[in-house]
């Protein structure tokens, strides 16, 4: 039973890479890609657990997560384009109109 836990470590590492990308990267497109990376890491962990429990639930979940991720990136890209039209930038450091 060694392999499932190895896969879990890989999944968590990929998830953390994605999280770091969301927090630290400045380019909005890279941030969007990092969110997708986080979702895909979760897919990996779902598949691992469903292998562990011998159930199909996790496998089906993966298909749903992929669909949701596609819809999410469509909305996200739309928002980035709308922002780029008004502010002419995709750098998150320069987008600071709303603050206390």
């Amino acid at each position: 039973m060694n392999e499932p836990w190895m896969m879990l470590i890989v999944a968590c590492t990929v998830f953390l890479i994605g999280l770091m990308g969301v927090i630290f990267r400045k380019n909005l497109l890279i941030v969007l890609m990092s969110v997708e990376l986080m979702l895909n890491a979760v897919n990996l962990s779902f598949v691992t657990f469903s292998k562990l429990h011998n159930s199909l639930e996790g496998h089906i979940s993966v298909l749903f997560v992929m669909t949701v991720a596609a819809a999410e990136s469509a909305v996200g890209l739309g928002l980035v384009i709308a922002l780029f039209r008004t502010l002419k930038t995709a750098d998150s450091d320069q987008i600071q109109i709303l603050r206390d």
Partner: protein, 487 residues
């Protein structure tokens, strides 16, 4: 499994689905034809209200395939969510016209959001919750960024989107851990598992904390609140109102379900209950203090209301704390949510009447001396602000009272005292706009308030409801007492 009686049980959701398709078709014909879309939306929401009220009368508690629960709790919240969105759809026509946002896509997105919220409140499966959460959030991102040519609206939408997307992934990671530990994503099976399981629960606990973290974020409890003021300020007022009512209600129903996911009487979870209580205490006190103190420093009215929402989140969490050892106290949370939604619905509809000189949104100074120019609006706004502060004879008093009582009953006296102090600090923040309106002389640069007739009528109705519930809260309390949480 799936026969004709099941179809009647999921009628509200089917109607919502058809309504969404119809409005989508209506907006694809010509985007400026807004009347058919608006009428279709109103029709759909009324039908959803009727069908969910019928289900409520049936006195049923059925879980369809372990995914969707049809119970008093879900039917009542569904009725409530559709009623609130109906009020917003009817009342914000004039505002959308004024802001040049009145296109049929608005109604389509609102219906989609309502569908997501209504599935969310009845979901009994971690995965269905995720899908519903995304169905609710994706239209919400689009609605927040609905003023496409306004950079503030765009920025708010993008901030909301990135945080929401990342938090969705965090939620899923937690759900996968829970799935790994218990072997199921259905809440009822997880509950059964927690009863008989004894041994290591670390994987489950990590998953549970991650899942809770995601929804505390959605409900904007204090260390995770920083997105809320920005999103409130940037989005159109009608959308802010929908977020403050529909999304908050749905997020809290799920939060309560997630908190009561495991059987705390079971051997392996008894020590966990105490640390979970500690977590809620910290989050609740932080929300109360941050919300009430930063609120009194705000100049922008929407930012003020955002911090007030964070403050109210603290009270609701306090009520939740009371339910951790006494689950029958759960009605205080529902009662608070209902009262808060009525107040903020009225207040945001009132704000949507404003016409400011500058484009920066409604500032506090825009209210200066409103009493002399527009006594009706002043009276209505004062009722809503005082309700928020928790004055006696308004609904805000009884919501706070029940929450305090429920936490005192489970021995959290220190936290109730902290909450009472925060209420006093917060009252200053709510009385400031009232004092500005009543005590100052009119200011020529201040905002004008012009509402359509339907908008005005709805606001008066909600204000009367605030006062009536402030004197006779028994009916609503009885109704919320029927909304039990079924594991």
């Amino acid at each position: 499994m799936f026969d004709s009686s099941t179809i009647t049980l999921i009628f509200p959701w089917i109607i919502l689905g058809f309504g969404i398709m119809a409005t989508m078709l209506a907006s694809s014909v010509r985007i400026e034809t807004r009347l058919p879309a608006k009428l279709l939306t109103i029709f759909t929401l009324v039908l959803v209200m009727i069908t969910s009220a019928k289900l409520f009368n049936l006195d049923t508690t059925i879980t369809i395939n372990g995914f969707i629960e049809v119970s008093h709790l879900s039917c009542m919240t569904l009725f409530f969510i559709s009623a609130i969105s109906l009020i917003f759809v009817v009342g914000s026509g004039g505002y959308l016209e004024k802001e040049k946002l009145h296109i049929s896509d608005f109604y389509n997105l609102v219906l989609l959001m309502v569908l997501g919220a209504s599935v969310l409140v009845s979901a009994k499966d971690l995965f269905v919750m995720f899908i519903a959460l995304e169905v609710m959030s994706l239209p919400a991102y689009a609605l927040v960024g609905f003023r496409r040519n306004d950079s503030r609206s765009n920025e708010a939408a993008l901030k909301y989107f990135i945080l929401g997307g990342a938090l969705g992934a965090v939620y899923l990671l937690g759900a996968s851990f829970i799935f790994g530990a218990s072997g199921s994503t259905q809440l009822s099976q997880i509950f059964e598992w927690s009863k008989i399981h004894n041994g290591d629960v670390l994987l489950f606990l990590v998953g549970h904390i991650l899942v809770l973290f995601a929804f505390l974020f959605k409900a904007a409890a204090a260390p995770f609140h920083f997105w809320k003021p920005d999103v409130y300020e940037g989005s159109p007022v009608a959308v802010t109102g929908l977020m403050a009512t529909v999304i908050t209600t749905a997020a809290f129903v799920v939060l309560v379900r997630l908190f009561h996911m495991v059987d705390f009487q079971s051997q392996s979870f008894v020590p966990y209950l105490e640390s979970l209580k500690q977590l809620i205490r910290v989050v609740a006190v932080l929300s109360l203090v941050v919300g009430s103190t930063i609120m009194i420093l705000q100049k922008n009215l929407k930012r003020l209301l955002a911090y007030s929402a964070i403050n109210h989140t603290g009270y609701i969490l306090l009520g939740l704390l009371g339910t951790m050892s006494k689950p029958e106290q759960i009605y205080s949370v529902w009662f608070y949510l209902a009262g808060y939604a009525v107040i903020s619905c009225g207040l945001f509809l009132l704000l949507s009447q404003s016409e400011t000189r500058n484009d920066q949104g409604l500032e506090l100074v825009d209210l200066t001396g409103l009493m002399k120019r527009n006594p009706l609006v002043t009276a209505l706004a004062s009722i809503f602000f005082l309700s928020m502060a928790g004055m006696p004879f308004t609904v805000g008093f009884f919501t706070k009272y029940t929450v305090f009582m429920s936490s005192i009953a489970s021995g959290e006296v220190v936290f109730v005292i902290i909450a009472a102090i925060c209420t006093v600090i917060g009252a200053y923040g709510y009385l400031r706009p009232v004092a500005l309106m009543v005590m100052r002389d009119p200011d020529p640069t201040a905002a004008e308030f012009n509402g359509t007739k339907s908008n005005q009528a709805l606001i008066i109705m909600l204000a009367v409801l605030c006062l009536v519930l402030g004197v006779f809260p028994q009916a609503l309390i009885q109704l919320t007492k029927g909304m039990e949480l079924i594991p």
